[in-house]
């Protein structure tokens, strides 16, 4: 399976601090995506990074991809209470078999 595995499973930080979550996967990918899920809601797409990219930014989000290590990280800078959510990485296989495989997620809690 190429399922992504997020690390840590849960993370609590003070508001204003930076939050870093990691994702590891097993097989070659076409792209990797990060999603956010607020409690009781559906997932929301945050950012997509392709296999030929190493870093991507979107607002306070920074994503890196290391295909040699089969890993990615999501950095949220200057965290806010509204960032409290679960974050999932998801991978699309190199053969683009029309499926995205999701990891189990990191639960992020921002403390006031």
């Amino acid at each position: 399976s190429q399922q992504g595995e997020e690390d840590p499973q849960a993370l609590s930080i003070q508001e204003g601090e930076n939050a870093t979550m990691n994702c590891s996967y097993k097989t070659s990918i076409n792209n990797l995506q990060w999603y956010r899920q607020n409690s009781g809601r559906g997932l929301v797409h945050l950012i997509l990074i392709r296999s030929n990219e190493r870093e991507k930014h979107s607002g306070r989000l920074r994503v890196t991809l290391d295909t040699s290590k089969k890993s990615s990280s999501l950095l949220i800078t200057a965290s806010r209470a509204a960032d409290t959510a679960s974050y999932f990485c998801a991978t699309v296989a190199m053969n683009r078999d029309d499926k995205i495989i999701f990891g189990k997620g990191t639960r992020l809690h921002i403390l006031p």
């Binding site: 076409n30 995506q33 559906g42 797409h45 999932f88 029309d98 995205i100 999701f102 189990k104």
Partner: protein, 111 residues
């Protein structure tokens, strides 16, 4: 939620009864997906569709069937619900450019 609705939003049913969940989109996206989300398992793909009448199985398809007779509707059917199918079910759509857009979810309880 990007023009995606799911119905019902909550359902309680008994073991052995048939259940159909509906996903409706107004985006005219080609791809539609059904996932279930359970604690400790994350999000797992049940079935997906890549066009009208074109469907395929996902990771956890046993006990589920799907149909897509129109671009906008993707139905998930549990022919005979079991307690192990108690879960939150999410529908998602995409254009095939990989980003998926999710519906609000359906919480199903099988007693």
């Amino acid at each position: 939620d990007a023009g995606i609705t799911q119905s019902p939003r909550h359902k309680v049913t008994e073991t052995g009864t048939p259940v159909t969940l509906r996903c409706h989109q107004t985006e005219n996206h080609r791809y539609m997906y059904w996932y279930r989300q359970d604690p400790g398992h994350g999000l797992r793909l049940i079935h997906y569709s890549y066009g009208v009448k074109d469907t395929d199985k996902g990771e956890v398809s046993d006990g589920y069937s799907v149909s897509r007779s129109k671009t906008e509707d993707f139905l998930l059917t549990l022919e005979s619900a079991t307690s192990s199918q108690t879960s939150v079910y999410f529908c998602a759509i995409s254009t095939g450019e990989d980003t998926q857009y999710f519906g609000p979810g359906t919480r199903l309880t099988v007693l």
